[in-house]
Amino acid sequence: MLRMRKREKQKGNGGDHSSEIRNRPLSNNIEENLKYLREIFNNCSDVVFREFLLAQREQIKLAMIYIDGLTDKTRVSEEIMKALALEVPMATSNTEITKANALHYIKMRGLCINKIKETGNFSDVINAVLSGNTVLLVDGNNTAIINETQGWEKRSIEESKTEIIVRGPRESFVETLSTNTSMLRRKIKNPDLKIETMELGEKTNTQVALVYVAGIVNEGLVEEARKRLSRIKIDGILESGYIEEFISDNPYTVFPTIAHTDRPDRVAAYLLEGRVAIMVEGTPVVLTAPSIFMESIQTPEDYYERAVFMSAIRGLRILTMILAMTLPSLYVAIISFHHEMLPTPLLLSIASQREAVPLPVFVEVLFMEIAFEIIREAGIRLPRPVGQAVSIVAALIIGEAAVTAGMVAGTTIIVVPMTAIASFTVYYSGSIAFRTLRFPLVFLAASLGLFGLITGLIIIVVHMASLRSFGIPYLEPIAPIVPGDLKDSALRAPWWAIKRGPNLMGQNNPRRAVPGMKPKPPTVNKRE
């Protein structure tokens, strides 16, 4: 994998000329410009230099520079070249096109391109070419025209593979930033939706967008986000995860303080609550900040289905998360230390099973847990052809053979898969923390029983209570208790009941639903 290196000054050829390029202006002579560009793009065989003449004017030379593969070739041919090479309509037939006014006529009357920009320095030109735009140089002018002709092969908008819901939109983000921002625009049709772009990564110059809804979001939060982003100095940003590590409040913790998602409806919902989103070109995963603990167990479907039902489901999710974290350790603790907790018939049944098994409980549990983690990780990486066969073998080995061979007791076989399944009731990203934590808890439970388990839980809670995400306490609204926000934490109050935006983030959005929106059956007008 790439090694992260801070910015280095390289010596020698083909090095980092960025500071030089930045300030070098274009010259009037097209040949000079072209020569310089050819040097820069030395050995880049996909950069195309196309020189041609402006609409039958022999003296005005034009040149297009673009990268094959990043541009939409039809548009380049039709809208730039054809438009300029064939005919340039003029206002009056008397005016002559000279080198001086050529640029003006090309821009105003010749080019059929929908979006252009002008620039006078090379760094913009190079950036533009690399971004998939076509740069048009006009002889006799030191201004180049950048035409937006981006068009490359990209993945179509598909359903999200990791964040699945039953009811709701199925779109998920793709790798192209402009498509992603367009999806957000469709959801929030408001000029207050601000998209600030910047480039991060010394070598990769990746486009990163900071998105927020002005008026709802806390200005201080936006400022903080901008500050943290601009502090990043690294050679390349390939995925939003790189950024996440740089701007996290506490990079060592297992709990994510910055959420990530690839669903536009989720991002839009967060933006409306007063969060900011960070989108990165080249990855469909978008970061949102601040992120509190409650988010990691929520899904957008909570807001689409009926409130009562989803409140129960949320409660179930919290329960299963706790179970996923503590069930193996609880099992170990009870079987090794607190035998009186079990009802006698159950105890006798388990005791008879344990007669047959040589290993102590916690070794068994650990063994099974590790085995499951191996299967899970392998399952993600499995090439499709072998998937089927391998999963059958794994199931057989763990399930059948281990018990029959006497390595693992029957009850352990129940506990471990239940834990595993329980952890999948929330999205993968939210469950990572809990699934990691169950291992230390098993060790604690194995040494000190329920006392150890509770100690571990207390330490985890203390740790979570000390976390902040961009200034918001991580455990809000449970601790500190913010009564208004409790309606949207473990329960989900119906939309007509949520009158205020989340207190610490969306103070500027005091009214989400106007009071009095609770549905009522229509009253009968008695007068008639």
Partner: protein, 406 residues
């Protein structure tokens, strides 16, 4: 920073490395289900325990066929100077550590009971593993004999005894109740009596039945199975056993102490005294009110009972309110008879207030109680008891009256 991590690591390692002191694998434990205490001629304690044999329960796989679980407990005895001493010596014979957390019952042998039970109850209450909800019994004879039995219906005879007493056949006494009774200044203790009685034949392998046609073609057809049985109540004065109450008197005791939960009262029919009518108890309530005039003590006992008539051997017409009322009165008298039987024994034979009347007195006359509590036994023995019973039969099951000749 590194130093702190190293310190933390050392602390953690210490916790894990020194061994998990209290960790016990299940197959290191000898799970005790029942305990019995007898005394030996030399004055020592003999401890008998029923230990579960987990292997007999089978592993995860099902074992078809109802094999009787005859060998699913192991009963072993040991003599020692105290119970804890005996337990320690028992560990020479038992390969695992004794685990009292699932102990269900404790049986005190008759000899120990006559000597004084306070000698042995302290073990059960101080030990943190032994729960104060265990059922206490006194055995007629030796506790060891009772424990050496097995149950046909339950897994072990310990559980059978526990369930039986919980159902209300005898007077239910948990360890905490026993302690409270022993500590009370007026009430004396009672314990249910447990013994073994023949109860059918063992339904052994292959279900050999003891039927005439099969006689001669089977072996083991004359074996008898002995099941634990509640056979009454043992009455104590102080902490010493002084006598027994039989089943009928035990019912009286239950009535008087408001502990009647379940039962059947059978009375002869009014028209045909050879035939019986049985009433199933639904609800019972007793209130005791003491009266004291400075010299004389008397009690008013009000018993209320609701019952369902569930069996009628005779043919009388229940829809006749006269007859109905007579049956109810018979029931009242039957109850009163039992209560009086118990009272007689308590007052005249034992001179011990096993009926908790003293506590009722204390509540009503707190000043006087302080003065006379030391003489309570004598005063109680001379007290008059008026019993007022209101027995009602509320339901008659699915039939009203019987069709003639049916």
């Amino acid at each position: 920073m590194t130093k702190k991590l190293v310190c933390l690591l050392l602390i953690l390692l210490c916790i894990f490395q020194s061994g998990c002191w209290d960790r016990r694998e299940l197959n290191e434990l000898a799970i005790v289900l029942a305990a019995g205490v007898d005394s030996t001629p030399e004055g020592n304690i003999e401890l008998t325990v029923q230990i579960v044999r987990p292997r007999a329960f089978g592993g995860g796989a099902e074992k078809p066929g109802g094999q009787p679980k005859e060998n699913n407990v192991w009963v072993v005895s040991q003599e020692g100077r105290s119970i804890l001493d005996a337990q320690r010596l028992l560990e020479k014979k038992v390969s695992r550590e004794m685990y009292w957390g699932h102990n269900v019952i404790a049986i005190l042998g008759e000899d120990i009971a006559r000597d004084g039970v306070s000698k042995v109850t302290n073990f059960f209450s101080r030990s943190p593993r032994v729960r104060e909800t265990i059922w206490m019994f006194v055995a007629q004879g030796r506790a060891e004999t009772v424990l050496n039995s097995h149950s046909q219906l339950e897994i072990t005879s310990a559980q059978a005894a526990g369930f039986m007493i919980r159902a209300g056949t005898g007077i239910p006494v948990m360890l905490k109740d026993l302690k409270m009774m022993l500590a009370s200044q007026t009430t004396h203790a009672v314990l249910p009596c447990i013994g073994l009685t023949p109860s059918g034949s063992p339904q052994g392998v292959g279900m050999k039945e003891n039927i005439a046609e099969a006689r001669g073609k089977q072996e083991d057809s004359t074996q008898v199975h002995a099941e634990v049985t509640i056979c009454g109540t043992g009455a104590f004065k102080g902490d010493k056993l002084v006598g027994w109450l039989d089943i009928s008197e035990t019912r009286g005791l239950l009535w008087l102490t408001d502990q009647m939960e379940k039962g059947v009262i059978t009375v002869p029919s009014t028209e045909d005294p050879d035939r019986q009518i049985s009433i199933d108890l639904v609800r019972a309530n007793t209130e005791v009110e003491p009266f004291w005039d400075g010299e004389n003590l008397w009690f008013d006992v009000k018993i209320e009972m609701d019952g369902t008539l569930l069996e009628q051997q005779s043919m009388e017409d229940l829809t006749n309110p006269q007859i109905y009322r007579t049956i109810e009165e018979n029931v009242s008298r039957a109850i009163e008879r039992r209560a009086r039987q118990c009272l007689e024994k308590a007052q005249y034979q034992f001179e011990a207030d096993i009926l908790r009347f003293g506590e009722a007195f204390h509540i009503k006359y707190k000043g006087e109680w302080a003065q006379i509590k030391d003489r309570w036994d004598e005063i109680f023995a001379t007290a008059d008891v008026n019993i007022f019973i209101d027995a009602r039969i509320r339901q008659t099951g699915l039939e009203t009256k019987r069709a003639l000749g049916e």
